[in-house]
Symmetry: D2
Subunit: 137 residues, 4 copies
Amino acid sequence: MTARDVEAFLDSEFPQMQHGGKSYGIESVRPLGAVVRMDFHDKHVRPGGTISGPAMMGLADYAMYVALLANIGPVALAVTTNLSINFLRKPAPVDMLADCTIIKLGKRLAVGEVALFSEGSDEMVSHAVLTYSIPSE
Amino acid sequence: MTARDVEAFLDSEFPQMQHGGKSYGIESVRPLGAVVRMDFHDKHVRPGGTISGPAMMGLADYAMYVALLANIGPVALAVTTNLSINFLRKPAPVDMLADCTIIKLGKRLAVGEVALFSEGSDEMVSHAVLTYSIPSE
Amino acid sequence: MTARDVEAFLDSEFPQMQHGGKSYGIESVRPLGAVVRMDFHDKHVRPGGTISGPAMMGLADYAMYVALLANIGPVALAVTTNLSINFLRKPAPVDMLADCTIIKLGKRLAVGEVALFSEGSDEMVSHAVLTYSIPSE
Amino acid sequence: MTARDVEAFLDSEFPQMQHGGKSYGIESVRPLGAVVRMDFHDKHVRPGGTISGPAMMGLADYAMYVALLANIGPVALAVTTNLSINFLRKPAPVDMLADCTIIKLGKRLAVGEVALFSEGSDEMVSHAVLTYSIPSE
């Protein structure tokens, strides 16, 4: 699937993800990878203008789901079984980008790692590793 | 701190946590532990009426922060450094409860585990382990 | 399977686990759980008499495998897919006990948590969460 | 510190790591990274000739410790606080290489990710993320 196909699929299947105003988008997809963006938006922000932890976890999950869909097609029922995230630095009050690389794409399990950055900086803000369970057909 | 003290502190320091309508509350605190609640609310829900992963991660984080504050007092600057969560079962479309037990309370690091349940069920929906970094005074 | 059945199965299928002298044993099994022991033995020890991290990870893995076998029977091919461990306190120079509770036992995945203790102390030394993939028949 | 300095430090401070025959070595160090090797050796092997999980966890830990020492100097007391590892593919019965990149090097905590490969293959066998606590001076 192309970035546009994945985005159309997600808008149709998971409209509530953009609840309170569209704030997630796909930058690019590639073999075993994807880059996505989260707009800087009130609903993701903590006092002092910092992005909340749950917003970053949601962004990491979105990056992995986009990478997975782009590589295996529209499997709505793939579900996250494990997410482990390290918060490394304070995010800046700007958009965030998440770059996911799938390191295993098996029949039943996929594992990916995701690096999160504040736009315009090359210092990693947080780093996540996720496992998705892929339903049998 | 009592449950009421912690809740007052959080309402004052982190009002945006209840953004879009108050949906988090403290059930009880105890030595090295706490139980918190997340109301079933549109903003946490995925299609089909299921609670979203990021909402559960946010709830686990809240449970740990409440347990920590109740045990060490108002340390606004304690921050999550690592969160690892396993999603075990589909949550029911009802309130969720999270029970946190702190398994290490050091000077610099605290580690807790959190079990999440749908209200009225004793089957664990998800399970998280978190590390908080505690600032030096 | 009883504790003795599991131990006989492991001795037969995985003799190299006890390489360099038998140092692992089963204390008890229960529905969705097991307690195992690792003898204090040169091969697990770091300078200063402390148990090494890899020895504790191996012990946590053994505890989960025993709990799984006791509950689903001799599935030699179940494999660990994820292990996350927090090292909480310095272990004492004595035997270690590991108590595993399976928190999900699905058809394809099992998740367990393991608490590790130095014998004679009730302070948790480390805490692990593991996922096993169970082969389809 | 150079690779040779780190190796000399480890041989002197942690001789028991090479217990049963020297099987770990440093390939190279770089700013915020290191590559290390584990010889294919009986003591790391499971039936069927596969490398054991604990051996891979030990190798990941060694890679991170080498990268850390090379970058901050001989801090014998830095300790692993968290290790999370995903086992992705069956290792081949050959030497393993582990490549560690430090993604955060703070005053109190360092976080690194480690990719493990069987020698001669570019398919990742396992992937770990580790946190080290660095003692204050």
